[in-house]
């Protein structure tokens, strides 16, 4: 099962970047969960839990490399079905944290099925896209989009608009990667301005509030605008060189909310400054470049589509999360890969990376 060529085709640069990002995430989480005074809450355990999840992730990663990724094609539908079942399970037995029912309680660790569902959507979409020839017409488009739409509707009821949107964007990205017929594309571009205001009526009040606050954060600085203002203060006060590791006043004194999850980048920006932040964004950029390379060099359409799906999985999360923390996008609950605390998300990061590495390693297997 292990071929020497597998090793020679291992994308070492991608793995190296991955290790760097996971490392930066752990260091930052250590700072975000450290406390300057005792209050017995033990928030520091976020860091330890993340370490446990990373270890688990590594096992999943290594285990997956042993199998050829083509088996995923056969598993695509069963996995997708299981994902939908988990979503229903969350709806019925889920644990509610800060008003949203997103987690399944698995003893010491909570599992968020949404992350798993994202993965199943990528695999199933890749499978369907790979079978199609040429660019997509209306029928094919709706077929493929339905794969993302069904779980997205479930998730938006949790409510978790961010993840629902994320799934749709991943699906959409993969479709664009595959290609649309020019007529379809033109119609969609023209229809977008009509569809966006229509979507407003489907939003919940707190979701509308977030969008309004995004347009003017100072309107309610103590309430809904608080996250956005405080994160910008954190980042801006970091300045060019940053305040130094564990020295961020905004995060260490807890003015910054959700600093270990969705706003982890603000902690990083405050403590490492412009230099550190640009470096981190550069790392993400390089990481995405290497994912795109895998898509380019994959030996078949399934591999290409899988790699593209993983590309978009990371691309949208990084773009939306950092944009949100920097105050140029509305606040939606989308974590920053590797940086935000969240076991399910980290585990899926390892899983998806394993898929891409697998695609890369086995790209020349049939060239004699």
């Amino acid at each position: 099962m292990i071929d020497r060529r597998l090793l020679s085709h291992t994308p070492w640069a991608l793995l190296f970047l991955f290790v760097l990002l996971v490392g930066a995430g752990l260091v930052n989480l250590y700072s975000a969960s450290s406390l300057r005074f005792e209050d017995g809450l033990g928030v520091e355990s976020f860091f330890r839990k993340q370490l446990v999840w990373s270890g688990l992730g590594l096992l999943v990663f290594l285990g997956l490399l042993l199998f050829h990724y083509r088996h995923l094609r056969a598993l695509a539908w069963p996995m997708y079905g299981m994902g939908l079942l988990l979503l229903v399970g969350v709806r019925m037995f889920g644990k509610t944290i800060s008003g949203a029912q997103r987690w399944l309680d698995l003893g010491p660790l909570h599992f968020q099925p949404t992350e798993f569902v994202k993965v199943t959507v990528i695999i199933l979409t890749a499978k369907i896209l790979a079978r199609m020839e040429g660019s997509l017409g209306w029928k094919e488009l709706l077929n493929v989009l339905a794969v993302a739409l069904v779980p997205a509707l479930f998730i938006s009821r949790q409510p978790d608009l961010g993840s629902a949107l994320n799934i749709l964007l991943i699906g959409g990205g993969m479709i664009l990667f595959k290609g649309l017929r020019p007529a379809v594309l033109k119609t969609l571009i023209l229809a977008a301005p009509v569809l966006v205001p229509f979507g407003w009526f489907f939003l919940k009040d707190y979701q509308k509030q977030r969008i309004l606050v995004f347009l003017d954060p100072t309107a309610d600085p103590r309430g809904a605008g608080y996250h956005v203002l405080q994160s910008q203060i954190a980042i801006g006060s970091g300045g060019f060189w940053g305040k130094g590791f564990l020295q961020g006043t905004q995060s260490q004194l807890r003015f910054l909310p959700e600093k270990h999850t969705d706003f982890a980048f603000a902690v990083f920006g405050e403590e490492w400054g412009f230099v550190g932040s640009i470096l981190l964004i550069g790392l993400f950029c390089l990481f995405l470049y290497h994912l795109a390379l895998v898509a380019e060099e994959a030996k078949n359409a399934f591999g290409k589509c899988l790699a593209a799906g993983v590309f978009f999985y990371f691309f949208w999360q990084v773009l939306i999360n950092i944009g949100m923390v920097l105050g140029i996008m509305p606040v939606v609950g989308i974590p920053l890969p590797f940086m935000s605390y969240g076991g399910s998300s980290l585990l899926m990061n390892f899983f998806l990376l394993a898929v891409v590495v697998n695609v890369a390693m086995r790209r020349f297997m049939f060239k004699r």
Partner: protein, 597 residues
């Protein structure tokens, strides 16, 4: 999907180059935004972060205490409780104020008014005092329920207390909450501060107040304090000691027996005020607690004007006491000599009008000494006519009349010494002969404060130095001027004053005390030209407001200690009989057993 079939590579619409291009473009947007936040606006956000975590707190400086000459505390600071709110922490501020009104019994509208006033002067995260001075019972009540009312706190702040109450009210004045105008004028004052409103508390506010300190502290998002730094230490106010002796003050109040009037005692050689009584009086502590409108109205409408500090804020015609000035003026101008004899037959004619001496039968042959001893009016009518109004006016001014004494108390009045020019300007009428006659016996337009007259008497005794009256024992004597008379003239006047007390026919024989050199001059100042119907009646039969004012100005000297004493009883009737015993009581207190050392 057989392993051996070539893969169906459909042409891709967006290849890796497109993907990577998209990434670079969109991530560049993030980079630009990052540059804007962390480089362009770095200073702005840095100061925002500082504001987030550092706050400042004022450290109050204790106000200086005040003691009497013997060291007894007369103004001190005692702890008092006030109810405060932190607006930011109150859920529903109106409901919180409703509750505070229920706890304290304060009128809800008044509470709203004081809240709105203070809102502009305190930040939303600072304690804002809404009800000052609540009782300990109220504090206990609030503390038991406070957990249900976030943002409400009870603060302990020092409160002024005047242990002697009404006894020193006019001298000390009082402090009360600074009003809007005072807050606007004085940037050092903060909302809820007490500030001197009257008396020494007002006049010496700067020395008593001290300087507030400042402390900065770091907080976290929950408002918990993480560490404090002293930026400026508070400087306590200066402790002050009055020259006033409480036993003397008490003797003065007792002697006045509740009548409207005043007693002032000066150390003739230094100018220190040893007694300054204004009767009736009021309790300054009422004002510190916040006086009710009803009480305030009652004080203002009291016909005896208890708030008036008579020794400096009231001016009265000096009556015959003014003869001391005229005697000096006449001798210095040379219009009489000590031995010049003027005949008094009880009448004096000017034009077709006739002015009477207070003694109907006349004093017969009168020289200067007898004119003072028996207070002969005809003698001074004559002298006044010889001097003329200009000379009288000029001399009186140089003796300190119609000149501020400069005592450290607010609202001092300066009185009037008229002249033809003054009358023309103020009243628009020409000076007439009758004005000169009136002026020569201290009637008419001439008015002075009791403290001015005391200063004049002190100058007669101490060698002619006009001294500033001093309230604090630490104040050094301050010479303001010299009486415009020769030594011999001054001695002659003093001897005549001694004769008033010790010789047959003197008007103040009640003052005579063995072993003490005492000189005096009585005065009976007419309030109005008495109508004929009251002319022959006894004082008690005349309506109060028409009765004469009674003056007694004297000095007492023994063993090198010299004092100037002025007693005054408003509408008291005859000077010697009404004001005399009051001055006598002061002399006893000064020299008697248990009196001054």
């Amino acid at each position: 999907m057989s392993r051996f079939r070539p893969p169906r590579d459909a042409p891709l619409w967006a290849g890796p180059t497109v993907l990577f291009g998209l990434t670079v473009v969109l991530f560049a947007v993030l980079g630009v935004r990052l540059w804007y936040l962390q480089v362009v606006k770095a200073d702005f956000y840095h100061s925002k972060a500082q504001e987030n975590r550092t706050r400042q707190r004022v450290l109050y400086a204790p106000r200086g205490v005040i003691r009497d000459a013997e060291g007894t505390l007369v103004a001190e600071n005692v702890p008092a409780y006030a109810v405060a709110v932190v607006r930011e922490e109150c859920g529903d501020i109106q409901a919180t104020l409703d509750q505070i009104a229920r706890w304290t019994g304060v009128d809800r509208d008044a509470l709203q008014k004081s809240f709105e006033l203070g809102k502009r002067r305190t930040k939303s995260f600072e304690e804002q005092v809404v009800v000052p001075n609540v009782t300990f019972d109220t504090v206990a009540l609030i503390e038991s329920q406070r957990h249900r009312w976030p943002g409400v706190s009870v603060v302990v702040r020092p409160k002024r207390f005047y242990a002697t109450g009404a006894l020193l009210a006019h001298v000390l004045g009082y402090v009360a909450r600074a009003n809007e105008e005072e807050l606007a004028r004085d940037p050092e004052l903060l909302l809820g501060d007490d500030v001197g409103k009257l008396g020494v508390e007002l006049a010496l506010e700067r020395r008593l107040r001290g300087k507030k300190g400042l402390e900065s502290f770091e907080v976290d998002a929950a408002g918990r304090v993480l560490g404090t730094t002293r930026l400026r230490d508070p400087v306590p106010g200066e402790d002050l000691q009055l020259g006033i002796h409480l036993p003397l003050q008490r003797a003065g109040v007792r002697a006045l027996m509740g009548k409207a009037g005043t007693v002032v005692v000066l150390d003739a050689d230094t100018g220190h005020v040893l007694t300054m009584v204004s009767s009736p009086s009021y309790d300054p502590n009422e004002f510190v607690a916040g006086i009710s409108q009803a009480r305030w109205n009652a004080l203002q409408e009291d016909p005896l004007h208890p708030m008036q500090n008579r020794p400096i804020q009231s001016v009265y015609p000096p009556g015959s006491v003014f003869k001391l000035v005229l005697a000096g003026a006449a001798l210095e101008a040379g219009v009489v000599t000590p031995s010049t004899i003027i005949y008094c037959n009880g009448k004096y004619a000017v034009g077709d009008r006739e002015y009477r001496c207070w003694r109907r039968g006349g004093h017969g042959r009168v020289d200067l000494r007898k004119s003072i001893r028996e207070s002969c009016d005809v003698y001074y009518y004559t002298v006044g006519e010889r001097l003329g109004p200009w000379a009288m006016s000029e001399f009186a001014r140089r003796c300190g009349w119609a000149q501020a004494t400069g005592v450290d108390l607010p609202h001092e009045r300066i009185g009037v010494v008229p002249s033809p020019a003054w009358k023309l300007e103020r009243l628009g009428r020409k000076w007439v002969g009758g004005d000169t006659i009136n002026m020569s016996i201290g009637q008419g337009y001439t008015v002075a404060t009791p403290l001015q007259i005391t200063r004049f008497v002190a100058a007669l005794v101490n060698g002619g130095r006009l001294l500033r009256p001093l309230l604090l024992s630490s104040d050094a004597p301050e010479v303001q001027g010299q009486l415009p008379m020769k030594e011999s003239t001054r001695r002659l006047i003093l001897e005549a004053m001694v004769a008033v007390v010790n010789e047959e026919g003197g008007t103040a024989r009640v003052l005579a005390r063995p072993g003490i050199r005492i000189g005096a001059k009585t005065g009976t100042a007419q309030v109005v030209k008495l109508m004929d119907q009251y002319e022959k009646k006894e004082t008690k039969d005349i309506p109060y407001k028409y009765r004469d004012h009674a003056w007694l100005a004297c000095f007492a000297e023994k063993d090198g200690r010299r004092y100037a004493i002025v007693a005054f009883v408003e509408h008291g009737g005859h000077g010697g009989s009404e004001a005399g015993p009051v001055a006598g009581a002061m002399i006893d207190a000064l020299f008697g057993r248990g009196g001054m050392p």
